[in-house]
């Protein structure tokens, strides 16, 4: 495991002419560098584990600004792109370059950049900003287009994440997840908090503060609400919580336990595990009330339901075969198929947004291991280095997975690329940090 240095001085041979093409994706080979995060402790730190990792070199000229800007927008963009594991910054001394200026590409070619980001941050009114950028193909000297993101003070970091998303999509063809949010829970003695943070772990805001545990946060499809299980009533009860207003709604408080909420893909209802039948079974629950509809039908434990992205299948965990394994059934119940066969403990399924891959936790040689299964072939592989794993959750673009890990008595949240080559870790300030849920794209 190596840590990656954003200063970029490592392992960069001098680059000239055609030789540079081989470097377009220069390799990081075991070099151990540290991302000098300038900001808060909470930021995810980047670690590069892969040898021969392909990373595209990019550069960013300082964005033009006339007034003081309260957020280091340029630095957020650079850190986002590097955290993806797909890009590395190459630095060059440069003055500010705005999006309306055609750069001189020569110095950027000299340092080996494939792409150059220029831009500006202008105050258009009190507390109102216009963040603009333009992306350049340095090799071709070609304008790849520019975007303007209006923002108020409190949205400047978000605007920076949107710049990074836009750059990422132009360069990879895949939508970025830097402007998405992550929910997680911290527990410190009797203080249990549900946090909502930027996808880089920064700007955490406490949505809920409770003396009792909170588990299983689940994002609504539009990313404005969370369902979760709170024990504040001295039993597990499922709530839906609208983040912007703080409005909370009890959606499942039936006799016994109410847990493991998952949203229907249309956002109109939930599935959850209820013990109405005298044991844990999966039910569909409307948000407007009404009787829960039982979906699973066994004498065993059925729990941890999650829908396929098309809403047609419901994946869940059951011990009907004698040990906890992952199964799936039709969304309305019935037609049950077992999915995992290897190992005696396979739990916590998370389905990738393309519906073709499943992340889950399997007990392998005594360690709770992050596994990814190709759902078309049924082949499953451990994600290298992802051990002591809980609660895996795919990013909205399917490129990364966030999970909780407890190693050496310390809890942390980790994001990993699906191939395990690039990881980032987020340490809690104190106490436990756990139950991450990666939010959806937001429009």
């Amino acid at each position: 495991m190596a840590e990656y240095d954003r200063q970029g001085s490592v392992g960069q041979p001098p680059v000239t002419g055609i030789g540079r093409r081989q470097l377009l994706g220069g390799t990081v080979s075991g070099a151990s560098l540290f991302l000098a995060a300038p900001a808060a402790f909470a930021q995810f730190k980047v670690e590069v584990a892969g040898v021969g990792l392909t990373q595209r070199p990019f550069a960013l000229a300082p964005f033009k600004r006339v007034t003081q800007v309260p957020v280091a927008v340029d630095q957020v963009v650079i850190a986002d792109l590097e955290r993806s594991g797909e890009f590395r910054q190459v630095a060059s001394a440069s003055g500010e370059l705005d999006e309306n200026t055609r750069p001189n590409f020569e110095p950027w070619r000299a340092v080996g950049a494939d792409a150059l980001i220029t831009g500006s941050i202008n105050q258009v009114a009190v507390g109102r900003w216009d963040v603009r950028y333009r992306l350049w193909d340095v090799v071709r000297g070609e304008d790849l287009g520019g975007v303007s993101f209006p923002a108020q003070d409190s949205e400047l970091r978000l605007a920076a994440h949107r710049v990074a998303d836009s750059v990422y999509e132009k360069l990879t063809g895949v939508r970025g997840v830097f402007a998405t949010r992550v929910a997680y829970v911290t527990a410190d003695g009797s203080q249990n908090r549900l946090w909502i943070a930027d996808a880089d772990g920064e700007s955490p805001q406490a949505a809920l503060d409770s003396p009792q545990p909170v588990i299983s946060p689940a994002w609504s499809p539009e990313g404005e609400r969370l369902a979760y299980v709170s024990f504040e009533a001295r039993k597990p009860v499922v709530y839906v919580h609208t983040l912007a207003t703080g409005k909370r709604q009890v959606v499942a408080n039936y006799r016994g336990s109410n847990s493991a909420p998952a949203w229907m893909p249309d956002g109109k209802g939930l599935v959850a595990t209820l013990s109405l039948a005298g044991h844990s079974q999966i039910y569909a629950i409307g948000l407007e009330g009404g009787r829960p509809t039982r979906l699973s039908d066994s004498q065993s434990i059925d729990t941890e339901p999650t829908f396929s992205p098309d809403g047609k299948l419901l994946y869940f965990v059951s011990d009907r075969g004698g040990s906890p394994q992952i199964y799936r059934m039709a969304a309305g119940g019935g037609n049950v198929q077992r999915i995992t066969f290897s190992g005696g403990y396979n739990v916590s399924p998370s389905i990738a947004p393309d519906g073709n891959r499943m992340a889950y936790v399997g007990l392998v040689e005594g360690r709770y291991t992050l596994m990814v299964m190709d759902l078309t072939s049924g082949a499953a592989q451990p994600v290298p280095g992802a051990l002591d794993v809980e609660s895996p959750s795919f990013s909205a673009n399917g490129r990364m997975i966030v999970y909780a890990s407890r190693t050496k008595g310390r809890d942390e949240l980790i994001t990993t690329t699906v191939d395990g080559r690039v990881r980032t870790r987020l340490l809690g300030a104190k106490g436990d940090i756990r139950e991450p849920a990666w939010g959806p794209f937001r429009d």
Binding site: Q152, E155, E232, R234, S280, S348
Partner: protein, 180 residues
């Protein structure tokens, strides 16, 4: 995705001109692709709003515990690893609570199931539930009415003993008999 060599050569030519005109590191005005405006700001006409990522904090209190039920009687039932079977040694404690509930039909008991810390938090909620239901079934056998009991689970969330060792795990695999 970026280049072909011939294009690079063309652009190098253009750049030489640009560099001569503007001087190294400086710039010429751009009149190519317009900037696309993507306005997702939650700012309103009146000025600052809470912002697109604003979260309203909520603080909640815990429900209070009731009294403890019968005196001089234990209220914890322990379980083996991955088991919800009530052990023979636990029947005495459960029977004492069953007698109390039969003598005090207005009382309501809550059976709180717990697990050790290993495995999925949600799966452990279900395992704790199974332990609580198992104690409830034993209570039924001892004549307690079903509507006097509720079985709930805290999973691994409320350990009786902290630590990642067999001693802590044993102490945490339990059902607590509580009164409301």
């Amino acid at each position: 995705m970026f280049t072909t060599k011939s294009k690079t050569v063309q652009w190098l030519g253009a750049l030489v001109v640009a560099a001569v005109l503007a001087g190294c590191g400086s710039t010429v005005p751009l009149d190519s692709k317009p900037v696309t405006v993507v306005d997702k700001s939650k700012a309103d006409g009146a000025g600052q709003s809470a912002g697109a990522n604003a979260v309203a904090p909520v603080a909640v209190k815990s429900a209070s515990l009731g009294d403890m039920g019968p005196e001089n009687v234990g209220r914890i039932v322990y379980f083996d690893f991955d088991s919800a079977a009530v052990k023979a040694e636990s029947r005495e404690v459960i029977l004492a609570h069953a007698r109390y509930l039969r003598a005090n039909p207005e009382r309501r008991v809550v059976l709180e199931g717990h697990t050790d810390e290993r495995g999925s938090r949600e799966y452990n909620v279900a395992l704790g539930q199974r332990r609580a239901e198992s104690v409830a079934k034993t209570m039924l056998v001892f004549g307690v009415k079903g509507n006097a009991m509720e079985s709930v689970s805290f999973g691994e969330e409320k350990p009786a003993m902290l630590g990642s060792n067999e001693g802590a795990w044993e102490a945490n695999r339990r059902v607590e008999i509580t009164y409301r």
